[in-house]
């Protein structure tokens, strides 16, 4: 080993530890016995216990939060896939007046400053008596992820040679059949990466649900987590257990699909 190689590997190791530490600390604190969490000098070796988890899941309405989070996430992703498939097919394969404008609109909508629009959303929802509404929240998340979904699927559809479709049509398929049998099977990677993006966006969203849904029965997991920490301020073991429960699905999905998430500059890519 040359000294340069040793230095590089050492730097990489230190960086790896720095980046993974908060994730590790969350997991390990969630498995620590109460007595060892509140010690002035952190304990690094301990017998793991699951005692913090019942505290986290035992909060009033916990399963309501879970159900709400799943509803808005799955609903937004499915809606976005359906609507985006139709739109991206038109953009990639057809000529029509206003196509360029639509492409530009989709690009701009990808950068929509949702975080800064919460006040006006509150006013609109309030005027329409739609506060504390799970359907409205789902609809907002759907529009949040729609532009990215259209953009990504459009790329995938455009990459399928037109000749394949034409051949299918010559063989007697209608346009719809040609799409279903020829293009759709080739879209799997695109559907995966857009679903991942949609899932993470909706799962993470905090500002909208904070302002629109003050009623606990209509809230989602990100709010549960912040309120949990306020209520259980000093119970760090339970708070970390709650964080772990919230983060774990995302971490697992991400690790599985990391190859799709990395590489290729996609505007508005998945980002924490």
């Amino acid at each position: 080993m040359r000294p340069g190689t040793v230095a590089k590997n050492l730097a990489a190791l230190v960086l790896a530890v720095v980046f993974v530490f908060p994730v590790y600390w969350m997991l390990s604190s969630s498995l620590k016995p109460q007595s060892e969490i509140l010690s002035k000098d952190p304990v690094f070796l301990f017998v793991p216990t699951l005692e913090n988890y019942p505290t986290a899941t035992g909060v009033d309405l916990f399963w309501t939060y879970v159900a709400n989070s799943l509803t808005v996430t799955v609903g937004a992703v499915l809606l976005a896939l359906l609507v985006a498939l139709a739109a991206s097919f038109a953009i990639a394969r057809m000529r029509f007046r206003g196509r360029k404008g639509l492409v530009l609109g989709v690009m701009m909508a990808q950068m929509a400053p949702w975080e800064v629009m919460v006040i006006v959303m509150y006013m609109i929802a309030r005027d329409g008596d739609m506060l504390n509404s799970i359907p409205l929240l789902t609809a907002i998340y759907f529009v949040m992820v729609l532009p990215f979904t259209i953009w990504t699927l459009r790329g995938f559809i455009a990459a399928v040679p037109v000749e394949l479709e034409e051949a299918a049509q010559i063989d007697g398929c209608t346009r719809g059949q040609a799409f279903r049998k020829v293009i759709f099977p080739l879209l799997a990677p695109g559907l995966m990466s857009t679903s991942l993006f949609g899932f993470i966006t909706a799962w993470n969203e905090f500002a909208m649900v904070l302002i629109l849904n003050k009623d606990k029965a209509a809230q989602t997991l990100p709010l549960w987590l912040t309120q949990f920490q306020t209520a259980f301020g000093s119970d760090w073991g339970a708070t970390m257990a709650a964080s772990t429960l919230f983060a774990l699905p995302v971490l697992i999905v991400f690790l599985f699909l990391q190859r799709r998430a990395v590489g290729g500059m996609t505007a508005g890519a998945v980002k924490g």
């Binding site: 590997n9 993974v20 609507v83 990639a92 007697g172 912040t226 500059m265 505007a267």
Partner: protein
Amino acid sequence: MTVDSQGAVSTASTDAPGSAAGTSKTPPPPAGPKNVPKPPRGRRSLPGGVLPYLLIAPAVLSMAVLLLYPLIRNVVLSFQQVGRRELITRKPEWTGVENYTELLGDSQFWTVVVRSVVFTAANVVLIMALGTLIGLLLNRLGKKMRLVLSLSLILAWAMPIVASVTVFRWLFDEQFGVVNWLLRTLGLSGYEQHNWFETGFSTLVIVMILLVWGSIPFVALNMYAALTTVGSELYEAAKMDGANGWRTFWSVVFPNLKPFFLITTFLEIIWIFKAFAQVYAMNLGGPDRGSETLPVFAYIEGQGQFHYGVAAAISVLTIVMLIAAMSFYFRLILKQEEEQ
């Protein structure tokens, strides 16, 4: 990138094998080779065909109702006075540009603007510099170490926002936080029970560490992906010419990756400037409203102070600042599309 299939008019329809797309169920071939029915040429249908409009209608309508309309309403609301009384009567009062003049004459607003701009600049400089360095390092590591570092970066990247805020509050806890312990162990004094959330500035420093930690992976991993497209022979050539690492970077790597750098920088500016959850969940914009950035300031003016019109005006001004950054970003993207 943009594969524009519209332009290519293929007159002779080539007989592509039916199994090419992996579908085994090809419909029976037409009766004879002579009377091949012309496939419907929807793809080249004249502008005015109804099908494309039917296909895009759901997308266009939903974006119009839930994105465009709120944006317009936001501008309208910023010219109205809506407080507690108007909330109940549901009759907003038109006040013209009063919200704007009030804001522009308010020292607190300017404090928040300066704070947001400085905060964004500091974050983006750190993210880009460190992200680039780590990307370069990834490129020069062996297979095993690269995997270790990449996995660690991916875990940091994937951490959900609110979960990472909660964890950072625990890391920096005044009594039992591991950070105070570490600084004590390193022999620094004053970290016996140091409260990291005592001032707005200190709170924002923690938020910055969180944002930099969470944003570097995106830059570093994409940087590494971009570096692999720059052929290694270029580095070799630079080395042969006796260029050191610094020179190689500025004369070989940077010019090749300039579009990547610019696009990523603007993306980060936009992301950091409108970050809400990280700033708000860390300390609710406190203490004494000292860690509010523009999006949080707008939220608190509206929800906490019941100044909805003023809050809308803050939103409009924030969006105007964002649009400036976005227009640069789109120009870059469009230029890149043209070059490819």
